[in-house]
């Protein structure tokens, strides 16, 4: 028995360290982007929307380390300023769906019956439409802009969280500790939010990190279609879109904002993995 007990212990040590490494790397990347966003006015060498007719489509040089675009704007400065907007998109675009989805999923899963049926049919309806089509229709109704994007994201994005949490709640509400809580006279709200939700939420937290990546990309897609961030504001997705027609001649216009998206996404998914390890989601 002692032997069998020591094996999972060794495994846990490994998990702890393995988890720590991804946690450190993920946090470091996100912290780096956060600092860049905060310090944007200080570290950006040029004004991100300042056009220069004489420096159009320049390849990377010491003066313009990331090169310039077709309006002669400095790509490095635009990438730095874009960090602000993209971090904001990732955080807000995940936070509201997360909150709405978690609440709906908790209530639906816990109560079951008609409450559950109503919410889940709503989920089915939303899932029946292609994600981007629904997003674009909502934004089209509300008018282009980042605010509309956030609202559309909140209206559409919560369904995944609701499903995840609901599935967990359905299992957990039958666990003995939930029954014990009922038998001890705990209120339903207390059982739902204090006892079951903390045990149900780990999977959604992990998912929210990879969701941040998806939100980032849909933000870019919406901006690319001209419904999100409006030019000339520097946003990575917009920059990739703008540079698209020059890919063969001026690769740097798309490469650097594209790389930034990849790096930030990498940071989020590392953190997601680490959270999964910490919460023991994979056990």
């Amino acid at each position: 028995m002692t032997v069998q007990a020591s094996a999972p212990l060794a495994l846990r040590w490994h998990r702890f360290f393995g988890g720590r490494l991804t946690l450190v790397v993920g946090l470091a990347i996100l912290l780096f982007f956060l600092l860049v966003a905060i310090a944007a006015p200080l570290i950006a060498p040029y004004d991100p929307i300042l056009q220069g007719a004489d420096v159009r489509l320049q390849a990377p040089t010491w003066l313009h380390p990331f090169g310039t675009d077709n309006f002669g704007r400095d790509i490095l400065s635009r990438v730095i300023w874009g960090t602000r907007i993209d971090l904001q998109i990732a955080v807000i675009g995940v936070l509201f769906p997360f909150l709405i989805g978690t609440t709906v999923g908790t209530v639906a899963g816990f109560f079951g019956g008609p409450v559950d049926a109503i919410f889940m049919r709503l989920v089915d309806i939303i899932l029946a439409f292609p994600f981007l089509v629904l997003m674009l229709s909502i934004i089209a109704i509300l008018g282009p802009g980042l605010g509309s994007f956030y609202i559309a994201m909140a209206l559409v994005g919560w369904v995944s969280y609701a499903r995840l949490i609901r599935a967990q709640m359905l299992v957990l509400k039958n666990s003995d500790y939930a029954v014990a809580a009922v038998s001890l006279g705990f209120s339903r709200a207390r059982i739902m939010f204090r006892h079951l939700l903390p045990n149900a939420i780990a999977g959604s937290l992990v998912f929210s990190m990879s969701d941040a990546v998806l939100v980032l990309l849909s933000g870019a897609a919406v901006s690319y279609l001209g419904l999100g961030v409006q030019p000339p504001v520097a946003e990575w997705g917009v920059m990739v879109a703008e540079g698209q027609s020059f890919v063969t001649t001026a690769w740097w216009i798309t490469l650097f904002p594209g790389l930034s998206i990849v790096c930030l996404a990498f940071g989020f998914s590392m953190l997601g993995d680490a959270l999964g390890e910490v919460f023991g989601v994979h056990e």
């Binding site: 032997v3 069998q4 509400k173 003995d176 029954v179 014990a180 001890l184 006892h195």
Partner: protein, 567 residues
């Protein structure tokens, strides 16, 4: 006697841990002859399972290594063969069956295919021949309709049927030796008797040698030819069954034999405790013709299956301070009854009244009373505690919600509760994950006591624990009962424990009470044939008192098994 088929000499296994080397199997030598059943007895941690796994080099961790000694199978040293050759030994020469058939059967492969697979792999038979051979094996292990059940999956079988199927899988490769690791521990006592008899039949028919690992000396006494007693990785004593049981040499063996329930029963628990209760005292709990029905199956759009009765007309009266055991095999409705009494499962009809307040008629008042004066202890100690909460926080929350303890006194009360259940006070800062099963169960009992209840219902609360821990928890209940004048309803499938702890016993079968009475009375002179069968199926430590020849063999209905798991 004939030469040993398996001869283990000075087998030593050590664990290489970061903090040093530990010896887990210490120079054990053991012989197994053809057609012999050898019982390996010892508590968990004694190395009995590891010993058998070492025979076929199935080490549970890469840190464990066979350091020295030899394992001679018909003269061939298994510690020297290559890994590739070992693959042929496993299954084909030494087959294994385990305690939990559910986790050792492939859930997505039909039972028959799992047996046929071994036949094709080890004997190179064609698909058609393998199928025929597999059907034959299924009938040998006593499945009633082998041709049809070939295509069944593990989840369609009851626990006993699964264990039969797993024995079939082990037999499929026609091994010379079968290692059975606690094959009946997870089963009801009547099913256990059937499986043990099956093992003996197979031995007789095939001339198979069996190594039977168990913690229950009764099982050994009933089935084995020889006994080996292990403790802490060392072989304490080995010899023919009757010699070891009648004249044990090692003090540990003596204590094992003395603590066996079938022996303890001779002295019997002092029935004086169950002093006749004056008729003027009102019963604490009255259950009158209680029915609990569940709709079975049933789709999304109506088309409900016909309801299944989990509890069918149970009447009980429980006096204050009494401890009552409820026994019956799985699916007999014991757990549903417990939950119905506590108002955790809706009643279909009948009455439950707690101190005179009727749960059906004055629902809110009764629930309020139950929530503040009754508590439950659960079977799986890990599942019963919120994994994210420290034990101290958990108890504090109960005390706060219950509201009977002033906030300032809560920390002191938590300490007192931990003392009461025999946990160190530092456990207040621990989470369930870092605690053993026994410690978690103590924490679960502390939570029940935090309510300061008049009634505690313990639902199979020792079934998931080790035998030695079981004894400790039972002892704890006995102490608490004495100290706090608790009324206890103790649900178990283990009759020996009930006999030890309770004054009265209620025997349930398929949702009905078939017999009830004082423990001593019922166990000595069971009136109902089912009770008699239950008692007869307990393997007695006396080898001359064989398991009752033929116990009712019809498997229990499938649906109540599922019902047990419903909320």
């Amino acid at each position: 006697m004939n030469d040993p088929i398996l001869s283990v000499r000075d087998l030593t296994v050590k664990a290489h841990l970061p903090d040093g080397v530990r010896t887990l199997i210490d120079a054990i030598s053991l012989d197994v002859r053809k057609g012999e059943i050898v019982g390996l007895v010892g508590e968990s941690g004694s190395g009995k399972s590891l010993f058998c796994r070492s025979l076929v080099r199935l080490m549970p961790s890469s840190r464990l290594r066979i350091e020295s000694g030899s394992v001679l199978l018909e003269g061939r040293d298994l510690t020297a063969v290559s890994d590739a050759e070992m693959l042929k030994v496993r299954g084909a020469e030494i087959g294994m069956i385990f305690q939990n058939p559910t986790s050792h059967l492939d859930p997505v492969m039909s039972i028959g295919d799992q047996i046929a697979e071994g036949i094709r792999y080890h004997q190179g038979a064609s698909a058609r021949d393998a199928r025929a051979a597999a059907v034959d094996i299924l009938s040998q292990v006593g499945l009633p309709d082998p041709a049809r059940q070939y295509d069944s999956y593990a989840h369609e079988f009851s626990g006993g049927m699964r264990q039969r199927a797993m024995i079939g899988v082990a037999l499929s490769c026609d091994p010379k030796i079968l290692v059975a690791d606690e094959p009946t521990t997870a089963l009801d006592v009547t099913i256990q008797a059937q499986i043990l008899r099956l093992l003996m039949e197979i031995r007789d028919r095939r001339g198979l040698s069996i190594i039977l690992i168990t913690h229950d000396l009764g099982v050994v006494a009933q089935t084995c030819d020889r006994i080996a007693v292990l403790r802490g990785g060392r072989l304490l004593e080995e010899g023919p069954k009757r010699t070891v049981l009648s004249t044990p040499r090692d003090p540990y063996t003596v204590s094992l034999i003395a603590s066996h329930p079938s022996i303890a029963a001779e002295g019997g628990p002092a029935p004086a405790e169950a002093a006749p209760i004056a008729a003027t005292i009102r019963p604490l709990l009255e259950v009158d013709d209680l029915h609990v029905r569940f709709a079975s199956g049933g789709g999304l759009f109506g088309a409900r299956g016909k309801p299944v009765s989990a509890v069918a007309g149970v009447s009980l009266r429980i006096m204050p301070g009494e401890s009552v055991g409820v026994v019956g095999e799985s699916g007999s409705g014991k757990s549903t009854l417990a939950r119905a009494i506590l108002g955790l499962t809706p009643l279909s009809s009948g009455h439950v009244s707690f101190e005179g307040v009727d749960l059906a008629q004055q629902k809110n008042a009764a629930l309020f009373k139950l929530r503040h004066e009754a508590a439950m202890v659960f079977q799986d100690p890990y599942n019963a505690l919120n994994p994210r909460m420290r034990i101290g926080d958990m108890l504090a929350e109960v005390l706060r919600v219950q509201g009977a303890t002033p906030v300032a006194e809560i920390p002191a009360r938590i300490g007192a509760l931990l003392d009461l259940v025999g946990l160190e006070r530092e456990f207040a800062d621990r989470k369930p994950r870092s605690m053993s099963g026994g410690q978690c169960q103590r924490a679960g009992i502390a939570r029940a006591l935090a309510v300061d209840p008049k009634l505690i219902i313990a639902d199979e609360c020792v079934a998931a624990l080790d035998v030695t821990i079981q004894a400790q928890i039972v002892e704890l209940f006995r102490a608490l009962k004495r100290k706090m004048n608790l009324t206890l309803i103790f649900i178990a499938h283990d009759l020996a424990i009930v006999r030890n702890l309770c004054d009265r016993v209620v025997v349930m079968y398929r949702g009905e009470v078939v017999e009830e009475g004082l423990c001593a009375e019922v166990f000595a002179r069971p009136k109902h044939p089912y009770t008699a069968a239950l008692i007869a199926a307990i393997p007695d430590i006396d080898p001359d008192r064989p398991l009752l020849a033929d116990i009712r063999c019809d498997p229990p209905p499938a649906s109540p098994h599922i019902l047990e798991r419903l909320p």
